[in-house]
Amino acid sequence: MDKNQSRLPQVLQAIADLDDWFQTMRQAGGYGGPVAHWWRHSLLYAGPAFDWRYEGILTGYATLYRKTGEPVWMHRVRSTVSDLLEGQFRAKGFKASEFEANPGTLGTPHEAAAVSGLLNSLDCLDAELESRAISLAESILRNLVDNLWDPRVRGFNDRPGIRGRVPNKLATFAEALLKYYEVTRKPEYLDYARTCLDDVLKYQIKIGRYAGAVHQYGPNAGEGDGRLFPYYNARCIPALLLGSQIMGDARYEEAASDIATFLRLSLEDDRWPQIIYADSGMARWPSWIAGVGDILRAMWLVGENIWGSPALVRLLNAQLKSGGFPTAEGFANRGTARQEPSGIDWLDVLPVSGWNDKVLRLFAEMIPMQVKIPDSDTSDVEMKVGFYGMPGQFAESSTGLSLDVRGRTVVRWCKNEPWVQTQFRPPSL
């Protein structure tokens, strides 16, 4: 065993405990839970949502099945695929696919990400389920193409009728299109994927201090906006590598390698800042914890030995007793560049399905073949947290979570319910 793989037992136990937590987040119809994010939060709706959580959950469970052969993971895949099959709204997009803006439809990159999860798990399905999964994938992808294609500039917008490019979302879309092409060999999907990836290259910085980094947004499909998110840069890498592999275009692999260089340079000890601004400064907080799964996976895909990464150690050590991983550090200082966060905010510790899926996928892909996943060892969580500057008590069990502040319960969610009870102003923004 590689000396760095001495962490393997911890990763295996983390998988068992994370699976335990995910099953507590599963309610009738799919995986639920509130969402904390950089842009905004979805803290009222907590029912099943068909966003990028299904990318990591499906890929993670399918990978575990392939590596262990244990039927439990195949059952997880099949029930999760069944969620998606029932998840369309009016035979178009998914019902709740906007993650931090749930419930909403036509979420980008979420619907494409869920399709990738679906296509990654086909070999775990029986013939009938596989056929339905492929039909659903085509239906969702067609709906995205129909709504987002910008014929005048030949590319994909982020919102229907609003010209603009979001490279990391285009990468996720390309990944789903490429996977669909691999299944069906329909050439138009390859063409769309190429268009997406070429737009990613267009927004990559070629020279200077941040060479390799990709801008977050191109308003009007024009210049990049100067916001460089390490996390979203990492999200570009898998698609670029897949595009290079399928289309034989070395530019994509080179671009992925250059992004990895930016990720190495932007790592601060064991964590990445939220944003580096190309003009000056950064927004260090919140610094993702569970979401780091995607960054580490990107580094893994470009060939880096992440077993020895301090970011992996930080991730493993952050796992909660419930088995879930906290979302971040530093929500109380969102957008600031201060050196250390001022305390643990309740949004920091809130475990979110659509962040934890990144950890499940990463760990499932890291472990070797023929391993045994141990029994889970989870328990309830109680933590002191901050809530808008006031001290509070966060608690999570297998049936719910709550936040008490000054003797009052201000947030209560029963995990089988679609709506959170809150006693403060609608906190979705």
Partner: protein
Amino acid sequence: MKLTLSTRPVLPRAPDNGAHRLAWAAIADMVFADAYHAGVGELVAHLPMPEMEDAFALRAELTCPKGNRSALISSGLYDVADYEFSRVYTIEHGGVVRGRIRAHASVMQHQWVARHQIWVYTLRSRLFGIPIRLALLAGRPRFADQMSFQSRRAFVSRRPALAYYHVTVWEPLEGVSGDEPDAAHDE
């Protein structure tokens, strides 16, 4: 949740931009979260603009009710027949509204009491759009992000504010429970 939808437009043409769509989503979230926990199984909605319908229809489909009470969404209390409904959600809209005076008149007339109120898409939130645009024009994305946070924090208020929408949750006076959740924590 069963939803019966109709529209009673209060404006000749609905505003159509991202901020208003965000407001409709915030209003629908507030209504459905409250209705679900109040045991509402059926919502009768007279919405002030047809463009809001999708947001309500989607949430109805996603909400499996845990009770069988009925509730009304309306632009005022004037069309509530006594205690036909166990809960009423009024959505006032029409330019920038303040809301409190009309709400008070309704209470006196119908013996309903306001349980929660929110003001959505406040003028303060909108005004932050000016520095955001200036920052983007000047190529200062960091400042634009900071102003965007301020705008979002001000988007919904539980205190009276100049806003495009004012939403009130009403209960019949006799049905009001002792625990008053409106003594809330604002940011």
